[in-house]
Amino acid sequence: MSVTEQWEPKIIGFCCNWCSYAGADLAGVSRLNYPTSIRVIRVPCSGRVNPVFILRAFQRGADGVLVSG
């Protein structure tokens, strides 16, 4: 399959409420721009991210997973 210009990946982000989720909020407050392809799930700590969550995302068609904390 060739990657066309229109293709956009589907990325799931797991962000820690206390740091990177707040960082993502700060990106908004600062009016930074980034592609729409990432969707964030808030977790209480990156330690909360069970490997099963990541596998499930890939199973259901995610192209990338970002764990940040």
Partner: protein, 460 residues
């Protein structure tokens, strides 16, 4: 000091250490070891006869080896409490089994060689850790300054003792080797600070200012004296600090920007070889006394305190605040707060400010008889829990405890150990849920099912 000792709400334990901390915010039980003083402080009047008559002399820790004390001693004349303890490592009654001089001369019969350590248990709701700092051991690292072989190369804190009216010289600046008044004094800053190769990477924050103070004191106390300060940068970020430094420069202190490469003795003085990087040439100064501004490091035993109380330290061993800007006096353990240089190098104004901030946090906690607990914390399904306690190993908050459940298996009653969550300690991070192979532990509000439902919804 006296205010703290006399305050009706303060119970003072000196010569004592915290040995164990159990419980959680609002409900700690601490065990304090009162070390045996060998002196009954309820009888002792602090008259001083015992330490006058004691035959054993020991180097005084309080004067950093610049003076002597007795085996039964008070640290300094204004000590609080102003009553002695016996140093059992050096007292002849303990090392050789005979002496008894202090017991014979004590008019109050306060000497008790049989006294033992006592363990005291106390219930508290909050803990403030304020264990301070020690000085970097430059003798181990700086061969070019003589590895501590030259008696007239001293630390800034030793200089303070020489300057202090209660110190070994009664406040006169006299050099340790021959007791003469030094005319040429060299100060070297950043000894162990800002030196990743030999010491610590960080700036100790106080040395620029106390060196300026020391330089001022030399010029004030010793007429005709000369002061040289070797520095890397002069950092004076504080109210009235820059003015203080400039005053010292105007009084005649010579600031030389550069490092010292070698100190060696020549006759009755020391030669300090360095470089003036502003002029771009080497310099040599004949010095009668050299004072090193050594780095601040966490106090001895601070790693042990962190382990006993249960919170984390940073890469340099200083105690870790919960957030450097927003939660500077909290630790990641609820109910445990930090004050002073144990959290990082700081001077007296900053220490006092942080101490009051920690006190305000404690008072806010104490303003209610009960505190609400966030319900979004871990919960164990004890029917599924196998009791492996992997969760306990990964919990950063020591919130996993054990419980015993009674079950009927095959007609028999059996007891089984399972995990249980302390709702006061749990912060809801969920690390336990990932470690649990049985899926028996979940975080309320962030359960496995809930997060998976989110993943599914986003991947449609």
């Amino acid at each position: 000091m006296v205010a703290a000792a006399q305050h009706p709400n303060i119970t003072l334990f000196t010569y004592a250490e915290v040995e164990k901390v159990e419980g959680y915010i609002g409900n700690f039980e601490v065990t304090i070891r009162q070390k045996a003083r060998s002196v009954d402080h309820s009888k002792c009047t602090g008259c001083g006869t015992c330490w006058e008559k004691c035959p054993t002399k020991v180097l005084s820790e309080y004067n950093l080896g610049l003076g002597m004390r007795k085996a039964i001693y008070i640290s300094f004349p204004q000590a609080v409490p102003n009553k002695p303890v016996i140093d059992r490592q050096h007292c002849r009654q303990f090392t050789m089994g005979k002496c008894g001089v202090c017991q014979k001369v004590c008019p109050a019969q306060a000497i008790d060689y049989q006294q033992e350590d006592q363990l005291v248990k106390e219930q508290v709701g909050a803990i403030v850790v304020a264990t301070g700092y020690d000085l970097f051991e430059w003798e181990q690292a700086y061969g070019e300054y003589g590895y501590g072989r030259y008696p007239d190369v001293i630390s800034g804190l030793q200089f303070e003792r020489l300057n202090n009216a209660s110190g070994p010289t009664g406040g006169k600046i006299l050099r340790p080797s021959d007791g003469k008044e030094p005319k040429n004094v060299v100060f070297i800053k950043c000894v162990g600070s800002r030196d990743a190769a030999k010491g610590k990477e960080y700036c100790s924050r106080t040395c620029c200012m106390y060196t300026a103070k020391h330089a001022h004191q030399v010029l004030e106390k010793i007429p005709g004296s000369k002061v040289y300060v070797f520095y890397m940068d002069v950092r004076t970020p504080g109210k009235a600090y820059e003015e203080f430094y400039l005053r010292t420069v105007h009084e005649g202190a010579r600031y030389i920007r550069g490092r010292v490469s070698k100190i060696y003795p020549e006759g009755d003085h020391l030669v300090v070889m360095g470089v003036d990087t502003l002029l771009g040439r080497p310099v040599e100064v004949a010095a009668d006394l050299v004072v090193l501004a050594t780095a601040m490091v966490p106090s001895k035993g601070s790693a042990e305190i962190a382990r006993i109380v249960g919170f984390s330290t940073d890469q340099d061993g200083f105690f870790m605040e919960s957030h450097p800007k927003l939660r500077p006096v909290e630790t990641n353990t609820a109910g445990v707060f930090l004050a002073g240089a144990c959290q990082g190098p700081k001077d007296i104004p900053d220490t006092v400010a942080q101490a009051s901030a920690a006190a305000a946090k404690v008072c806010a906690l104490f303003s209610h008889s009960e505190m609400a607990v966030d319900p979004m914390i871990a919960h164990v399904n004890q029917a599924l829990c196998s009791g492996c306690l992997e969760c306990k190993n990964v919990c950063p908050y020591r919130a996993i405890e054990t419980a015993t459940v009674t079950e009927r298996v095959g007609g028999k009653t059996v007891e089984r150990t399972v995990a249980s969550v302390n709702t006061g300690l749990c912060q809801g991070c969920g690390a336990c849920t990932v470690a649990c192979r049985a899926g028996a532990i979940n975080v309320k509000g962030f359960t496995n099912e809930q997060v998976l439902a989110e993943v599914d919804a986003l991947c449609l």
